[in-house]
Symmetry: C2
Subunit: 321 residues, 2 copies
């Protein structure tokens, strides 16, 4: 079974499921956003391709990125750590140095958690953010003629992982994109000042097309982007050329860049810093079979539900398969 099938079962089993379906849950009575993501050794990471310090950073970054997608300001995290008996004290201190550093960089406090035994390393982080504006960012708020904008690049993280897994040379920029992703907290805080209605935002944790398809599906609107307008690192072009790979596959389907994709009214785009946010596409009419259209020069590729389900980044297969 795939993650999406399990999520369907969970939705059908719970009496109250109105909180589910976004990157973060919004608790109106408390004015906070909550998210909870887990990294599992040999599924989300391997100790051959990262360090305890970077692992600590990334386990926090992936959760802060979800808060960024909700346009909320991160405040607190809890960390539940499961470790094999063989792990030494300096592994834990390095991991927590990473956690401590990234928390300091974004003004976040570690408030608790637990530590237990396990066969593999499992790091589960729950993050709490405060509301930064009167408006919400949710997956179902994309409207006709909204501009689709992105903060951050696409494809570098997946290329970095590909290099690490296949013992290929890659520029440090690609490796860092994979092992030390930076959540777009400041970009989210910046744009929240311009937002004057509920909007849609997602991070690209599971890839750019994944984010776009989920926005399309939840907003019941098709969307289209120009693949040549998506910001990429030059190092991705070089790496792809050197290894005879199609860089656009990394850009479209590669996960873990933790860039921020938003659908916003064009008036907002006119006001914001267009160095920080790049215009890559737009939202179409209501559509009962929402799709993502990728324009590449004269070629239009329409990604339907079926194509999406076959190609999306699937943690259940594992990044290492």
């Amino acid at each position: 079974m795939k993650e999406l099938d399990f999520l369907k079962i969970i939705n059908n089993t719970l009496d109250v499921n109105s909180y589910l379906g976004n990157d973060c849950a919004y608790l109106e009575d408390l004015g906070i956003f909550v998210t909870h993501d887990t990294l599992v050794q040999d599924v989300h990471f391997t100790m051959y391709t990262t360090s305890p310090y970077m692992l600590g950073r990334k386990s926090v970054a992936v959760n802060l990125s979800d808060l960024a997608a909700s346009l909320s300001i991160p405040k607190y995290i809890t960390v539940s750590l499961s470790l094999p008996n063989t792990v030494e004290g300096n592994f834990v201190s390095e991991l927590y140095k990473g956690i401590n550093d990234i928390c300091n960089e974004y003004g976040v406090a570690v408030i608790g958690g637990d530590i237990t035994a396990s066969d593999k390393i499992v790091i589960s982080v729950c993050a709490i953010g405060k509301k930064s504006s009167s408006y919400l960012s949710q997956r179902n708020n994309a409207n006709k003629d909204d501009y689709i904008v992105i903060a951050g690049t696409s494809g570098s993280s997946a290329a970095g992982l590909f290099a690490l897994q296949n013992f290929l040379y890659a520029d440090e920029k690609l490796i860092q994109a994979q092992i030390n992703p930076l959540p777009k907290i400041r970009e989210a805080e910046y744009i929240s000042k311009f937002v004057d209605r509920n909007i849609t935002a997602m991070d690209t944790s599971d890839g750019l097309i994944d984010a776009l398809y989920k926005i399309a599906f939840n907003s019941k609107r098709s969307v289209e982007i120009d693949i040549n307008k998506v910001p990429i690192d030059n190092e991705l072009l070089i790496f792809s050329k050197q290894n005879n790979l199609d860089y656009k596959e990394f850009v479209k389907w590669g996960g873990e860049d933790y860039s921020l994709v938003l659908c916003i009214p064009s008036e907002i785009f006119d006001k914001i810093d267009d160095n920080m946010f790049k215009l890559i596409g737009s939202v179409n009419n209501k559509d009962n079979s929402p799709s993502v259209t990728v324009i590449d020069g004269n070629v239009k590729e329409v990604i339907s539900e079926k194509i999406f389900m076959n190609k999306t980044y699937n943690h259940f297969k594992g990044i290492l398969c």
Copy 2:
């Protein structure tokens, strides 16, 4: 290394560690309590001795119990689930039925989480509770002459686990104590109405002596209890007799009863329902070498730091060793 050694390293690594050290973190700006505990297959449970439904219940119960110890009212949980590829859909639906049922019983909403792959089943729950009174319950608030009271019994859960692990017959009450513990939410809500100053409370997740020692250590006061006043189930006596075991070992050191131990001024005890809370001991003077004294008729057993460290319930050894 033991859990306590790792916790020392974490405390020393973090720049901000003032939130750590209690069962829950209290976030004053939000008026909420947060706790985060993880259950790991073959460490905290085995699928030979529980069902997916009961596992779902227990994974929530252990976190609600921490909120009870903080005298807070549980409101929300997130669930991060890691599952082997071989797990079927009905495992997930049964697990979530258990989660859904216990949440309904205590007025809690499941607000999110994630689902990932792993070798073993790992269930990580983060729970959020609202403040129920103007006063806090923390481990370091035990004062001289406070009464030590307990809601719930001791020893049954560990006896139930012993029976399951050794294929011994045990009354269903002991088995249920192990696989379906009930957090003392209502008892916490009840007593919070009588509390007129900061107090100390802990659950007995890691055993009665463990809770008492941690209270003594954090409050820098020795405490004493009368072992014969600790409420126990009659089924524990029968099981221990039938199997030639010392039931007092279960009562003192057995974990996972999730009973609620409190240190409260005697005036509060005079006002509360003494069917719900049983008086088992008292708090002594300040003490630089805090200990727990267990009185059993004419015998006084003093549990020092050294004895405690050797005997306390250690998840790092695992319940299955």
